[in-house]
């Protein structure tokens, strides 16, 4: 069952991310980004990482993409003033280089040759929570400082007058 679901959701993720990169209007990109993030969350479920899948949907699809859509609608660039983009010169080279990067990644992944093993309890709420609050407690607390800094930074940057 897992291979079929992997292929389905993997294809959705790859297709969605290609659409994100190729759409002209950022709002279409943002909606395809939601699709991609949901597909990736499904892949997390396939790997028994249920906690991370839930976080993926709540934080990414629920908060980050909504923030993107908010900003797109806030600055509301008219269709006529969107940057005109053509696939020429250096940017065409960039696509080729990215293709080579994917090929290289594929070769490395093949070299890995990891055989499948039954997944231990590595992604449940209990396992991740236990690790976060024991071994990685300091990192977890520093994360909150990072988020606080991001909140203050975002307000300070986006506000007209502080």
């Amino acid at each position: 069952m897992e291979p079929i679901l992997f292929i389905v959701f993997g294809a959705i993720a790859v297709g969605g991310s290609i659409m994100v990169v190729t759409r002209r209007h950022p709002l279409a990109s943002a909606l395809y980004l939601i699709l991609t993030l949901f597909a990736v969350a499904a892949l997390f479920v396939l790997r028994q990482a249920h906690f991370l899948a839930a976080i993926q949907v709540i934080v990414y699809a629920g908060a980050v993409v909504v923030l993107f859509i908010f900003v797109i609608m806030l600055i509301n660039v008219p269709e006529s003033r969107l940057p005109v983009e053509r696939l020429t010169g250096v940017r065409f080279l960039a696509v080729i280089v990215a293709g080579l990067l994917i090929l290289e990644g594929a070769l490395v992944a093949r070299r890995f040759g990891l055989a499948g093993t039954p997944a231990a309890d590595s992604g449940s709420v209990e396992a991740v929570g236990r690790a976060l609050f024991t071994d990685y407690l300091l990192a977890f607390e520093v994360t909150s400082v990072l988020l606080l800094a991001a909140v203050i930074g975002a307000i300070a940057l986006a506000k007209k007058k502080i």
């Binding site: 992997f6 290609i18 991609t36 892949l43 900003v71 600055i75 983009e85 940017r91 976060l132």
Partner: protein, 100 residues
């Protein structure tokens, strides 16, 4: 049970698409979204290897990456709003004040 190299391959493909978006697009909003795709690709690799090894560390690191991604999106979009207010454009080729 699938072998994790398939997940690593998928992760590589997603990362490559993200890199293409960052390098080839001019729209700053889509560049930020491509960065999110790249961070997500890394998370796929973390989760795949973490569950292969039966180790929870992969999940913890993916959690940290998600935190950083959320912070990055918030600050990046705030910068974008400030730039748009100042320059009335989100075309990165027109934002070349720091270019020597």
């Amino acid at each position: 049970m699938m072998e994790p190299s398939a997940y690593l391959l998928l992760s590589g493909i997603l990362f490559g698409i993200g890199v293409t978006g960052v390098v080839a697009r001019k729209n700053a909003l889509i560049i930020l979204m491509s960065v999110e795709i790249m961070l997500n690709a890394v998370n796929v690799a973390f989760i795949a290897i973490g569950s292969y090894l039966g180790d929870v560390t992969g999940g913890v690191f993916a959690f940290m990456v998600m935190t950083v991604a959320a912070a990055e999106a918030a600050v990046g979009l705030a910068i974008l709003i400030a730039i748009y207010r100042l320059k009335e454009t989100i075309d990165i080729t027109e934002l070349s004040v720091l270019k020597w």
